[in-house]
Every structure is written in structure tokens, then in C-alpha cells.
Amino acid sequence: MALANELSSVVRASMERHGVPGVAIGITSPERREVVCHGVTALDTYFPVGADTIFQVGSVSKPFAATLVMALIEAGQLDLDATVMSYLPEFRLGSQVAAQQITLRHLLTHQAGFWGDWFDDFGLADDATERFCAEYWRLPQLFDPGTMWAYNNCGYILAGHIAAKAAGTTFEAAIKQYILDPLDMDHTFLSAADAIAYPVAVGHTNSPGTGAAEIARQFLRPRARNPAGGVLASVEDILTFAELHLGRRSGVLSESAIESMQQPQAETYEFGASWGLGFKVQQADGGVVVGHGGATNGFRAALELVPERGFGVAVLTNSDSGGRLATEVVDWVLEHALGIRPTALPTVELTPAEAEALSGTYRHPYASVEVAASDTGLTGRLTTHSPYSENSEPQTGEQFGLRYVGDDRHVITSGELEQMQVKFWKNGDGTVRFLQAGGRLYIPGDWNELEGATTA
């Protein structure tokens, strides 16, 4: 088919531009399924990527966790609007008031409001997730449950734990029982131990100095993270999962459950973007796109669906720079197959006084953003110092420009983070409460003064 041939040259050019070693792309529509694979599984074996090659899909795992929760709701085991404490009476957060209010729906829509990027290692045992969730008293509360949206990995881990408990087994066994087995997804796993007997893609990071691709030897491990990002799957299996959510696969969820997952339930800080149950829902130029991205050490992935057209596209890459490839490929496919384009954002003038008022340093535990007023508007610079990264030294990125697009929203205009949206949330008095970027909230003040943060 012409689309596939043309797509191949688009993919190859993007791989070269971004230094991505291997890519598997799948497209499903009511008429057909197509898979296009390029490159190699690893830059030392040079084994070719194929439709059966297993990739880490990172946070594309979250729609799996949400699907499991929905299946258990349909089985009468869970209730979306029941509180977490009704399932886990011993549940604790930094804010005990919040702990009593948070529901499963808050967790699946990223509206719980507690700090969601705590990832300490609780090993590989069956009870890893349970022991992990018992430590949430460490997590400070950023906003009252249900009042805002902020990306929350810990929320998904908690939802996964509650689902596993309701299913009476481990999270991994529940995913297999409720999703993988009914759909015959036999190339999807939640551990290296199960995946190792299959052809597996190896991740690649970019050398801090030269940008050259290097093999990422640290493979996914801590088991507690599985509901937020532990799925390993072939592109064929991800297409099967897509077809479930396009209504073409039966035996897992009812039509109404599938539809409810794709309904906007929480507005995000990005233009036209809201969250359903497990999926991002994006109003684009020409249609609504429902999907999720994924990022783990050395891997980037994306799954995007256009349910009204019965269309889905999945992009799996084995490189940290695969995110830009995934965006380029998805944009190209949606435009060429369906005529859907990203919504163009306006340019709005920002006065020097407004720019000055936004200047400052905004922080969360593993990163800070320095915002400064300049002749041309605002500039920013991101410094990260993740305790979970192989590199413990703080990494300061290039300074980037910000273009104001209205409604306290800005778009990054240069560098690695180009096209990322940034929003300043204001207090009643006009001062900045949060800077939001990459889904995370940064605060202008001291993190330790947040509610429940003293012990974190």
C-alpha cells in the first residue's frame, strides 16, 4: 500500500535525524492492519526489529492498568467513585484529609493531587507494590483532590495495587487473566524473566557529550512500578490492545466501558487536552485523538487512537530520542491517513511587566526551571537531578525560548523540549502558584513547606 511505502521513507529520515536504532510502527483501521519495522534491536547485535520484537512501552502501560480497573468494575469488584480507603483502610498520604477523599477515578484521571514521582525500589517480590503503597505517607499534597490535573505515576501504582487486591492475585497475573489471555496477546509481559525467551529490543540512551546512541544496560526492574510503566510488548500486541479500545475486540470490556475511558473527565493545562480513564484525549484539527505516550530508560513509545474513525497507530522505539520520532510519525500518519493535524497555537503578546512577574525559579524534588525575562520575552532553563537516574550529577539543559499563546500558557520554541507547553497557575493575588510542564507541577517556594512534605 502506498501509505506504508511513503511512511517507510518518513520513518527512515526521522530515525537518521534523531539517531534512533530501531522502530516498530503499527497501524490498524477497519480495513486492515499494517506493520512497518526498521533498524535493529541493539547496536551490538544488529538483530533486525520485527513485528514480534518486544519493546518497553513505558507509560503506555497506564491504559493497561486502567483497562484492568474497568474490567474489575464491570465484574462488580470495584467502583470508580469509591474511595481508596474503602479498599485500603490503612492508606496514608502526607495529607490525611486528602487520603480520605481520593477515589479510583481521581487516580485514573491524574486528579489525586499528591506528589506522583516517587520511585524507591521495593524489589521483585510479589508484595513489592503493596509495600510501596504503604509508604505513601511520604508524599506531600500539591492540591485538593479533584481540583486540578497533574500527571501522577504513584496514583497509577496505587490503582494497580487496588485492582490486584480486588482480583485476588498479583497485578501481573491480573493483567494476564483479564486482558492478555482473552485477547491472545502472547507477546506481552511484565518482567524480564518472562520476556527473555523472546526477541527483545534493548534501550539506547544518548551520550551526554556527543549525543551518540549508547546501549542502556539498566533494564526495567523494580516491580512496584509495573502499573505505571512495566509493560513489555510487541507492536502486533499493542495493535491488538488498540483494537480492543476501538471496539473491534470482545471479551474484555463492554462498549460503554470503552467509551467512558475516552470521555474527557479532567482538563489538563495543555491546549485542547483533557484526560479520560487511562487515556489522554486531545482535540486536534479535524478530530479527537485518544492515546498515551511512554518513556523508560532507553525507550520511547506512543499509542494514538482516533475512535470515530476506528483508527489506531502505535510507535515503539528503543531510544531516548525516540519521542521526537514518535511525534513526527504519528503526526504524519494522522495527517496522511485521516487529514488530522495538531491544532496551531496563536501568538499573544506578553508585556515586559507580565514577563517580569513570571520570572523566578520553580522546583520539584528532582528538577527546577529557571524562568527569566529577556528582550524577546521569556526564556527558561531546566535542571534535573533525578535520584533514579544512572547519572546522579545535576543535568542543566540549554536555555530555551518561550512563546506566549494566551491563558497563562507558553510554548517552548527551541531545543530538546521544543513544542512542550508550559502553564503558570496563579493565586488570587496574581502571584504564581505553580509552573506546570511535562505534566508535573513546580512550585516557586520551598518544597518542604507543602502539606505533608516534612517527612518526605
Binding site: 521483585l124 518482567s191 524480564a192 524473566a193 527473555i196 525467551a197 546501549i215 542502556a216
Partner: protein, 455 residues
């Protein structure tokens, strides 16, 4: 570099042997005269067609037991554990087997297969750091098969017990202790206990026979060994790393000038401890011992779900050979290869004991049914020897279905000893043990004793 004639002959021989046994792939490492030779043959995966490479990682199975034993000896060197200490001294309150033999079993019994504890216990206690601890607790329910020291019978479970005693002593996990005390000092950078550590490298899958009496191999899907059986056999490694380990045991207990193990302990491991062992001429601490006339070879085999491997060392000649195969029938192949290499590189051949004639009246004493939890063996008299029909199951295989094995023919060697003749198990010992009244008590085949049972 072009092959020597010997290397070319080796390649030809290995090719024929692999074809004979339909082994998908293997690697070989030879350490000879201070020179290393590495070879890769066939495929690492029959489904994908990935080629085997010299640095492909394969499971070494029970060769891991020598790592456990070496680690144990580092603790003996430090005075933390004594080889003659009873198990109860290091695990107070622990009951070993349903008979409670913790005071009677010594630490050295655990690593020389004479404890009497039922051995093929592979219960899976998950991937948590407490897996070995839970496993050891479950050993209180195991059967004591014979009195400590009475018989030699291959005992996986005892190595897991030793591993747990070590980790408890050191206050770290067992795997971390091996990394800290063996892998890292010896520069073994491609040797791992966990799938998530190995998975980013070139890794082979295992292959098993579709039917026990056929020739077709298929990919074995159950790759990992339960963490609780790590000390008994869950290392995966390369031929090159295994040669490092072999060279260390040829040496004086140091590596790169640093002391890893006392020379006494290294030598003690190789000294004969058990005279009558079911898989070799004799047994030391961890090591099996085989005698080529006056020349002693030490070694160990490994067999997991779809992998079989063997390491053989002749310390007096500073020679080592390791063969790592990705086949459940790889042993048939490595036996031929190691035999060929010993002949051609060292001029060593192993004299086989002569078979003797035994009348049917004498043979019929051995006939009957024998049983252990993973096998039922039926012995009948046939063609001047014995025919063994075994139905077995593997605790580690993809399926736990019974597998009816092809019949095996064993010829008498005198006394109560026999040797398998022909087939994949050619040369394997079959031994019988009697009760005091002369009636049959055990058959020992495949290294394990099975009880005589009523028909």
C-alpha cells in the same frame, strides 16, 4: 588468524556431533598452554535464526554450584563457617527434613551431595530477597532419603541451604555475595543470576526436544530458574567468563595479584571426599572428580530447561574446556566433544571398566520398579543386561507433564554397578544399593537414588 589443523578438525567434529544430536547451538572455550580459544556454532535461537556468537550468554545450570562452593570457602577462610559445623549451629531452631537431621548434617555434606536430604526441591518462592529464606523454611517438610553420609545422591536443595546460610552470615543477598566475592574480582562481566541483568546482552534461548524420542527441537519458553534455586543453578554466563573461573581454580587462589580464596581452600575443593559418586568417579567439595589414569580432572555439568553445559579442568596441565549448549540433549554432544578435546589436546583417554557377564538369574535381582518424586523407573532383564524404562518430569520445564523416555540399555560391570550402553546417555553409571537382607533398596540413575517399590 587461520585455524591450526587441530582447530579445523575440532570444527568438523563439533559440526558432526551437533548434527548427530540436532543441537541448535553451542559455544566452546578452551584454555590450553596459556592460550584461549573460543568457538561459536549454530544458532542462539531456532525461531529467530540468531547466530550463536563467542560472547553469547547461555545458562550454565548446576556449574553454578561451584560458585556457591567457592563462595562458601571464602567464608571458611574468614573463620565465619567451619566445614565440619553442623547445620544447626548456623540456623538455630531450624529443622532440616521431616526427620530433623540438622545436628547430623555438616556444612561439607551440603556441597558434596551426601546429606540425605531430598534434592530435587525446586519450589518457587518468587523474586523477593527473602526467596531463599522461605525456601529453606520449606525444607523442614522434605524427606530424609538416607542417613547423612550413607550414600551419594545429587542434592540440589542442599546447595540452596548452603546459599542461605552464607547470605545470613554476610547480611547481604546470596547473589550480591557472589558478585562481590567472585564475579567482580575475577572480571566476570557477563555472568548473571537475574534475567533483567542478562537481557540487554546477546542471550541464547534454550531448546528442548518436542518428543523425548524424536530429534526436533523447539524453543523452551520458561527461561528463568526460581530465585530460591539460584545457589543450585541459576547463573548464565559466557564461555570466556567461564574460562576465567576455570583459570582461577587452576591458579593459587589469587586473581590479578589479589587474594580471592586461600590456596588451601582452593586445593581442598579438589581433594577427594566421596569415593563412590553417581555422576563421576568421585566427588570433592562442589567439584566432581574424574581420573584419567593418574591424571585428575575436576569439573561439573549443568542442565536446565533447554540448556546443558559442562566444565572440565585438568589442574596439573593448566587446561580447561567449557562447552555451553542450548539444547536439552546437549549433554550427548558435549560428552563427545570433551572426550575428543581431551584426546587431541592432552592425549588423555578415560579407560572404561570392562563389562562382565551376569546370568539372567543374577540380573533378575535388579529387576522391578523404582520411584522418586520426579521419576518412575521400571527395570527389566534384556540382552544380558538391564533395560530401564523411565517416566520422568522436570520441575523446571515448560510443561509438568510426564515424559516417557526412550528405553536405556545398561550392561553389568560387576558388583551392583552397570553402565549405559548406546544412546544419548552412553557411558552413564547405573548403580544399585541393597538393604541389609540383600534386597534392593535404591537404584541410582541420573545421579539420583530412587526407592525400590512394589510392582
Amino acid at each position: 588468524m587461520s585455524d591450526t589443523d587441530r582447530q579445523a578438525d575440532l570444527r568438523a567434529f563439533v559440526g558432526e556431533s551437533m548434527e548427530r544430536w540436532t543441537v541448535p547451538g553451542l559455544t566452546i572455550g578452551i584454555w590450553n598452554d596459556g592460550e584461549q580459544e573460543l568457538y561459536a556454532f549454530g544458532k542462539a535461537n531456532l525461531e529467530t535464526g540468531y547466530e550463536m556468537a563467542e560472547d553469547t550468554i547461555l545458562q550454565i545450570g548446576s556449574i553454578s554450584k561451584i560458585f556457591t562452593t567457592t563462595l562458601l570457602m571464602t567464608l571458611v577462610d574468614e573463620g565465619l563457617i567451619g566445614l565440619d559445623d553442623p547445620v544447626s549451629q548456623h540456623l538455630p531452631g531450624f529443622q532440616l527434613t521431616e526427620s530433623g537431621i540438622q545436628d547430623d548434617v555438616k556444612i561439607k555434606d551440603l556441597v558434596s551431595h551426601v546429606s540425605g536430604v531430598y534434592g530435587d526441591h525446586f519450589e518457587d518462592f518468587g523474586w523477593g530477597d527473602d526467596a531463599l529464606e522461605q525456601y529453606v523454611a520449606s525444607m523442614s517438610d522434605l524427606r530424609q532419603v538416607y542417613a547423612p553420609g550413607e550414600v551419594w545422591s545429587y542434592t540440589n536443595s542442599a546447595f540452596n541451604l548452603a546459599g542461605h546460610i552464607i547470605e545470613k552470615k554476610l547480611g547481604t543477598t546470596f547473589e550480591q555475595a557472589v558478585r562481590d566475592r567472585i564475579f567482580e574480582p575475577l572480571g566476570m562481566e557477563r555472568s548473571f543470576y537475574f534475567p533483567h541483568e542478562a537481557i540487554t546482552y546477546r542471550v541464547s534461548v534454550g531448546h528442548t526436544l518436542v518428543t523425548p524420542d524424536g530429534d526436533e527441537h523447539e524453543v523452551a519458553r520458561r527461561w528463568p530458574i526460581p530465585r530460591a534455586s539460584g545457589p543450585a543453578g541459576s547463573i548464565s554466563s559466557t564461555a570466556e567468563d567461564m574460562l576465567r573461573f576455570a583459570r582461577f581454580h587452576i591458579g593459587d587462589g589469587t586473581w590479578d595479584g589479589k587474594r580471592v580464596l586461600s590456596d588451601d581452600s582452593r586445593a581442598q575443593m579438589q581433594a577427594e571426599l566421596v569415593e563412590d559418586a553417581g555422576l563421576a568417579d568421585a566427588w570433592g567439595l562442589g567439584w566432581q572428580l574424574n581420573y584419567y589414569g593418574d591424571v585428575k580432572a575436576i569439573g561439573h555439568g549443568g542442565s536446565t530447561n533447554g540448556f546443558q553445559a559442562h566444565l572440565d579442568i585438568v589442574p596439573s596441565r593448566a587446561f580447561a574446556v567449557v562447552v555451553l549448549t542450548n539444547s536439552g540433549r546437549g549433554a550427548a554432544c558435549y560428552r563427545e566433544i570433551v572426550k575428543w578435546i581431551f584426546e587431541r589436546y592432552l592425549g588423555l583417554t578415560k579407560p572404561e571398566a570392562d563389562t562382565v557377564e551376569l546370568g539372567d538369574a543374577a540380573l533378575v535381582e535388579f529387576a522391578g520398579s523404582y520411584s522418586q518424586p520426579l521419576a518412575d523407573i521400571h527395570v527389566t532383564v534384556e540382552d544380558g543386561g538391564l533395560r530401564l524404562d523411565a517416566v520422568s518430569k522436570s520441575a523446571l520445564a515448560d510443561s509438568d507433564e510426564d515424559r516417557t523416555m526412550p528405553p536405556v540399555h545398561a550392561m553389568p560391570l560387576g558388583g551392583d554397578k552397570f553402565r549405559v550402553v548406546g544412546g544419548a546417555g552412553d557411558g552413564s553409571p547405573v548403580d544399585f544399593f541393597r538393604n541389609e537382607d540383600g534386597s534392593m533398596r535404591f537404584i541410582r540413575y541420573g545421579g539420583r537414588v530412587s526407592d525400590r517399590v512394589a510392582e
